[in-house]
Amino acid sequence: MAYRDTRNVLAFGDNGEECQRKLYNSRVLTVGSDLLSQMILGGLAGLSVGHIAFIDNARIDRNDRDFLCSHGDTIIGQKKVRHVEDTLKRINQVIQENIVGIHSKFAEAFVFEYKPEVVIDATNDPISKEKALRYSIRYCVPFISASSDGARSAVAVYVPRNQAKPRVFSENPNLEALLMQEFSGSKQGSFSSGIAAGLVCEELRKIKFKYAADGRDDSLKNNFRLVYNMYSDTRTGMIPESASMPVYFKNKKALVAGAGGIGNFVALNLALLGFGVIDVLDLDTIEDHNLNRQILLFEREGGKKAEVIAERVKAIDPFAKSNAYAKKVGEVVTKDRPWLEELYRIDRQLWKKEGEKRDKKFLDFEGFVNFFYGVSDAEKARGVTLLQKSDFSSSKYDVIFGCFDNKYARIWLNNFAVENRIPYVDGGTGPREGQVSTYIPGATKCVSCQKDLMNWARRPFSCANAEGSVVMSNIVIGSAMVGEALRVLYSIGVPNNDSFVYNAMSNERIGMVRGRNIASLHC
């Protein structure tokens, strides 16, 4: 088992190793090389799907922003599949010998050569999908269809029950839904593709293995289609259509706080949209086991996450400005004292409840504050510095993305956003779920109030207690955060305290839940 996949194994549960082995032995073919396909392929490489083939005859276009064709010497007019192949091989060197790109439109003969166990068509081309579906029926291979436009995306699955002749297709009108005619001719978007890509990877996982045998983790039904729609209040359904999707983002400034699993995809989507400023804040260095989901960090183990993300953002969009802040969050001042005392009181109760013995320094208030909002001697020795609120005073961000994995940094960032009246989009994930909460100054409660961050159970801090994390929930939530941010920036829909949620074990997969509205010290 490759070390890079240890977080997958943890996330997959008790039979994690066996599940990961199933993925190593999988053969998947993807049709298309546009954004949606690239996002899916990035996810498959992150998951360490053992054999990945993809087919498309597109060439690099000067007007395209690409995720996988941006790292290396890209020349306009070159075959996209070659660049995608090269980058995928860099993202996952464990499976690199089994990654093959075929420059062609869908042709059964080329596809058959790779004997895929699952075929994914990620184009917006109904003819291509029809060919892929015919292949699926002819060879009894599960078929996942996905399409996207600027703000919407859809995913459908067809699992043939037994081998049948292609003519069955014309006799089964339900299969028409898999062709996704609505997306025909549309240009694929970034975050909408990201959400679909995460859902597709999850469906693939469900085809290969399930978390529960009681039906909760089943694949989508053959005649059911998952739809994400940024314009919809429920974020699902094809209506309303995204006719007025904004296209110019160069004047927008964003801070991506946290460059882990979620931060990777937030930064990626912002770069693909063309945001003018994408600053990245993270103290961490890149480790092997990050690479299963943090797919922008390939080949840079040991480097600072924030710096590498900033570099990769500029590779995707050379016109974007991106500053890296490899600092610890964050400075506290006298006026922070009330919420800090409250947080200290709640945490002490939580620790006592868990029956854990803590280090003495946690037992007094000053020690608590210094541990979470200061720099220890050991950290000083490693060159760690504390982020000052003044570091951001001149930035005037239009939106802040909170992608941290601990509540202390989250609370700090939430308070920073509240103090400066900046929209704040917060994302959190588990191996099978995730959620996005949004703070709109003057319109909603802050995220701390919506999520009751103060009372969140403490997250483990040591690697021995590390939690599993997979690419699917991160790509869905990272992409959804960008979608939620656009709703705020362009005043789409009615502001409320609802949160976007993703649950791989529910039938709906994605949707909105009502946020809490607790009274707190923050807003």
């Binding site: 075929i102 062609s104 042709a107 059964e108 003969a109 080329f110």
Partner: protein, 422 residues
Amino acid sequence: MVQNGLSGNFLQNFHFSQEPFAIIGGRFYTLSRSNGINGHYSFSLLGKAYALDESEEVSQLEKNFVLSRRTDIERMMSQYIQKNLVDKIQAEKSEVARLQNYYESAQDASIERFIVADVFNAYYHEDKTSDCTERTTADLSLKVNNQPSIKELLTADNSLNPLTQGSGFMAIAGRCYLLEECGIKNEREGYVAFGKRAFRLQQWLQLEELCKLYGAKLAERIEKKAAEHGQRFAPILHELSRQKKELLEQNKRANSDTASLGEIAFSKIGRNEYEISVALPPYIIEKKGKYYRFEAVRIGTAITAENGLVRIKGPPKILSGQYTHPFVTGDSVCYGEINWASDPGVSFNRSYRLSERKKTAKRIAEVIRRGKLTLEFGYLGKNVLAWHPIEDCNCEIASSRADAERYARSQGISLERICKNN
């Protein structure tokens, strides 16, 4: 042939899927089922045009095929090398070992083998104790990258090109048609438009047949690469073959009553009695600024071998009859003041053990060598009067070095054989 294990290439897949395609300029084009042209290339028939969608180059598809069948192809290449080279090398090695064993097993018991192996060796390798049939130091262990790599196949070449000889073709419904450039676009018979150029379809092969030909060509290419890879074994094979030849000759010499190796030879002249001799080609002696030519001569000495003991019967004599030389009278050679017992340490009255092969062989070889040197170089710097003055030999040929060299060249005598006597 290796193609048996290489089924399922992209051409065969098209044969099974019945999808129409074209290959033009080394690139695949798939035919869109939808009516219409969306690129520069199309196929038109009976008023309908079908787009030819650009696909991979054939060379890339072949590369992908090779990569996907990596294990099979490498095994095939290994098998080819094993069958055609490694097995051959192993057989040669066994044969060399057998000949060597045969030679060594009989060595102790045979005086002929003693002369051929030890005396001849001591004569040619004056200061060495090693065997003149010493095996090469070359690495014969076959560990020199026995495993061929498919990387050698991942080039821009492809195996389809030689079959089409560079022409494009199109496959529809299991039939292949060569594309022949034409000026007229014949709607009824169909044509391929490739940019501004038009090609008519000329019936060629069944696709199935082409698949077989392609498979064979591909196999041929793999075998060729395997053979190229196998070239690194050629020095081993060559060396083994040299050793085998040498051992065969050595065994042949050792099993006969007479044998020679270069200028040294032996012959059995009686029961347990052998004559060991060297043949001296013509040579020129320089003495006091004058040059004298002497004819070829054979000198040698006899040895007896009995009960594991060898005795050298005397110093070398002339064996080739009447010979004119200042040091020669009859068949005897005058050795001046040589003290054989002290230098080179040979006593003609005692016997030497055959079991001390190297030492005994060295003594015999040294005796022969002294005879040769005495004829060619005199008494090796010692100023002793010869039996006959050299001037009386009537064989002066020059009175200068230049003339002597010119003479030597004209007579085919090596310049190294102009021996200076003092």
